[in-house]
């Protein structure tokens, strides 16, 4: 019944999705407008035209639900196309395609930076217009997971359903392309959309008055944190928080669930923080929680923006860390940065992250390659400036709230890896004699950086003689990772919100690899990297990672990943173990350590794992009956849970490390293990 109802609601528009897409064409030039209109009609879109930007804006304001897409000329007498673009971007979340005879880079760039999702040159060709529906999908992907999936399905259908139509061409292209690019760019679009939710809900489960989904947007989370802070974390009860937050449609259950996650989150933090208290104090008494809050905001933002479906889980903490690597990175990155600061007083993950964010903001639409360079440079600078870090972290929350976190994150990931080697050198020495917590965090963190940092620390402290060799190994690993990121992560991360799952997976994989690389360098064995690679490949193989490499649609990846995850969930756990064991083997030198690691992991697992497992299984159950597309959401959950578990495990491991005086290698082991777990 539910599917039918859904169909009823969406049918007209989505059954043959690109057909009937409602576009608003704005051009003061009647010739162009006429041609454009005809072209759009020929693509079987529904077209409304106007020759004035002001009228267009009025139409959009009055019937914002009546249009899926805006195509606007750049030069118009009554209102500059850029202005229209800006207003549309501010007031409503619609993809806007700019149109101009003028193809100067500057103008095109201006269009892109103003938020245009595409910039077409006149005379427009029908081939170009046949593809523009992808921007709508992209936007929707950014908004909601479910909705996306629906649309994605729709998009997949056309080949069979509409092949006879003119736009059969489109359909041929669409299934592949729609997914990929949409995820890539989804992030850009995702930011703005919080309102889209309303529609989604109605559309998605019209029949299910069950639980209204709550999207814990940055804003919402801030309110939440503010309320909690006002009440005091110990006295904060859902009801009072709800009162203080004063948000419509938010239920006590929503808050309770969120509070639970938040508490877990704080707990984790405190575990790390306790070790760093002295350091923190030295640094000026910055409240770790505050930072965490900011980051959490980020995470939450990403996670929540990514999907409304996710929001149903409302598990904030869990969602955050597991959900997106970027997010998790952010969280983990904070503690790591702190520790590093204490030790070295400079640079690290936090910097890179913050940079990435900033970078993103400045160049939302820019390409990865550029970003990478920019980040690299900026990172280098950051290292120099301590202040930066603080500022950046502070800024992050705002930035994040403002925008494209996902992009930034992805870029960060890429960029970071190359940077690491250098940083490592510096860090290593500084870190020697550092706290275990720092290393652990780094290890835990899914970023390349952290692993690197870890490795470096390891090298310094333990293998001072080998330092050069290990470093090279690390750099190499970093590079490898980098490559993989380029292929898979950027896209995914870029695509983050819905693409989170893939991103994560890739990240995790990467991390695993790195850690292993580190391990290998550590132990002096080169075997591990290959193993890791194989592992990676295996995972990928299951998931169609190869496609990722091809820079294929994030969609495919996601779906694949999900499917893999669902099917392999039980097996994955086993895989983790095997991996960890491999690790041990590889570290023949450190076999003892490896054993310790295992022991730790297991112990940690005992506490953390239960949750993971349950979550995973649940997700698995959910997944099985549903479509592949549906799977993605539960999958995400599972991932989230797993990742969170890993995070916990890391923290735990850290603590243990302290107790046992276990060496870095131990931490690494844990990190590997967990990261792998996260991979699941």
């Amino acid at each position: 019944m539910r599917p039918e109802e859904r169909k009823g609601v969406v049918a007209r528009r989505r059954d043959q999705f690109p057909v009937g897409m409602r576009g608003l064409a704005v051009d003061d030039d009647p010739v162009c407008l006429k041609v454009l209109e005809t072209l759009l009609l020929r693509c079987q879109y529904h077209v409304t035209t106007t020759n004035q930007a002001a009228i267009a804006l009025k139409m959009l304001r009055e019937n914002r639900d009546m249009f899926d897409l805006v195509i606007s000329d750049v030069h118009m007498p009554d209102m500059d196309g850029f202005k229209l673009l800006e207003l549309v971007g501010l007031e409503m979340d619609l993809p806007v395609i700019m149109l101009s005879v003028n193809g100067e880079t500057k103008t095109v760039l201006k269009g892109i930076t103003h938020g245009a999702c595409d910039y077409l040159l006149k005379p427009v060709r029908i081939e170009e217009l046949r593809n523009i529906w992808q921007h709508v999908i992209r936007r929707k992907f950014g908004n909601r997971d479910r909705g996306n999936i629906d649309i994605y399905e729709e998009c997949n259908k056309p080949p069979n359903a509409d092949s006879d139509h003119v736009h059969g061409h489109v359909s041929c292209v669409s299934p592949d392309q729609s997914g990929r690019p949409s995820k890539k760019r989804k992030e850009y679009c995702s930011e703005e959309e919080d309102e889209g939710e309303g529609n989604t809900q109605e559309i998605d489960d019209p029949s299910a008055p069950k639980k209204p989904r709550v999207v814990w947007s940055v804003e919402l989370h801030r309110k939440f944190v503010a309320a909690v802070n006002q009440l005091g974390i110990d006295k904060a009860v859902p009801k009072r928080i709800l009162e203080l937050m004063n948000v419509e449609k938010l239920t006590r259950e929503n808050v309770a669930s969120h509070l639970q996650k938040y508490r877990l989150y704080l707990k984790r933090l405190s575990a790390v923080a306790s070790q760093q208290v002295s350091i923190v104090a030295a640094l000026g008494g910055r409240d770790p929680f505050l930072h965490m809050g900011a980051f959490e905001g980020l995470q939450g933002y990403q996670a929540f923006t990514s999907s409304s479906a996710l929001s149903s889980f409302t598990s904030h903490g869990l969602l955050n860390s597991p959900r997106n690597n970027p997010a998790s990175l952010g969280t983990q990155g904070v503690p790591a940065s702190k520790s590093i600061q204490t030790v070295n007083g400079s640079h690290t993950l936090s910097h890179s992250i913050s940079d990435a964010n900033k970078y993103n903001i400045s160049l939302p639409g820019s390409q990865h390659g550029n970003l990478g360079q920019g980040l690299a440079t900026s990172l280098g600078q950051t290292q120099m400036q301590q202040k930066w870090i603080h500022e950046e972290t502070d800024d992050l929350s705002t930035i994040l709230s403002g925008n494209v976190l996902a992009n930034g994150m992805s870029s960060t990931l890429q960029n970071v890896s190359p940077l690491l080697p250098q940083e490592l050198v510096e860090c290593t020495q500084a870190k020697i004699g550092t706290q275990p917590s720092v290393r652990t965090t780094s290890v835990n963190s899914e970023h390349l950086e952290r692993p690197v940092g870890v490795s470096s620390s390891l090298l310094d402290s333990h293998v001072s003689q080998q330092s050069t060799v290990p470093l090279s190994g690390f750099s190499a690993s970093g590079l490898l990772i980098h490559g993989s990121f380029n292929n898979s992560c950027p896209t995914k991360l870029g695509g983050t919100s819905s693409a989170c799952a893939p991103a994560r997976s890739s990240n995790d994989l990467m991390v695993a690899r790195e850690t292993k690389a580190g391990a290998s360098s550590f132990g002096g064995t080169m075997l591990l990297p290959p193993d890791m690679e194989q592992k990676y490949l295996n995972f990928g193989g299951g998931n169609d990672f190869k496609q990722k490499l091809d820079e294929r649609g994030a969609d495919n990846l996601i779906f694949d990943w999900n499917s893999v995850a669902s099917s392999q969930l039980p097996s994955n756990i086993g895989a983790h173990h095997s991996v960890s064991q491999r690790w041990n083997n590889s570290n023949s030198n450190r076999s003892n350590i490896g054993a310790r690691m295992i022991g730790q992991t297991s112990s940690n697992a005992s506490t953390v794992m239960p949750q993971m497992k349950t979550d995973l299984f649940i997700s698995g159950d959910m997944l099985m009956p549903k479509n592949v597309s549906d799977l993605s959401i539960p999958k995400l959950q599972s991932e989230l849970s797993s990742s969170s578990c890993s995070f916990d495990g890391l923290l735990n491991s850290i603590v243990k490390v302290e107790k046992d005086d276990v060496t870095f290698s131990d931490d690494l082991g844990c990190g590997d293990f967990y990261s792998l777990g996260a991979c699941i």
């Binding site: 030039d29 010739v31 006429k34 041609v35 005809t38 009609l41 000329d73 007498p77 101009s100 005879v101």
Partner: protein
Amino acid sequence: MAAALTNQLNALVNNMFAMGLLDDQFQQLQILQDSSAPDFVSEVVTLFCDDGERIICEIARQLEKPNVDFDRVDSYVHQLKGSSASVGAQKVKNTCIQFREFCQQKSRDGCLKTLDLVRTEFYDLRSRFQAMLQLEQQIQACYPKH
């Protein structure tokens, strides 16, 4: 009768292509014209003829002013370029590109010269277009309405 007219029409259009007045964008328009938009080409061409004339008049007026606002002129030329590009009026479009350079140089003489050129080209094209439209009408008149 109709066949002869059609031949004449084809010759006219082919000649326009051969002379470089039109480019493949015009062919695109022709392809777009089908039962769902039977008069598409003639509509676009008519729009172009009317609008182009308006723009050219506007440009001329702007250039007559003692203090020429070249940005303004440029935006008109840009518009003409846009519509000529959309209709496939290659020659006019190319002249517009030159025109814009003069606008950027703020060369009044250059602008005036190019205006003459673009005007000549435009009216030449327009007369051909009008001939074309006439032929089409005559051809259509030969066939009873479906």
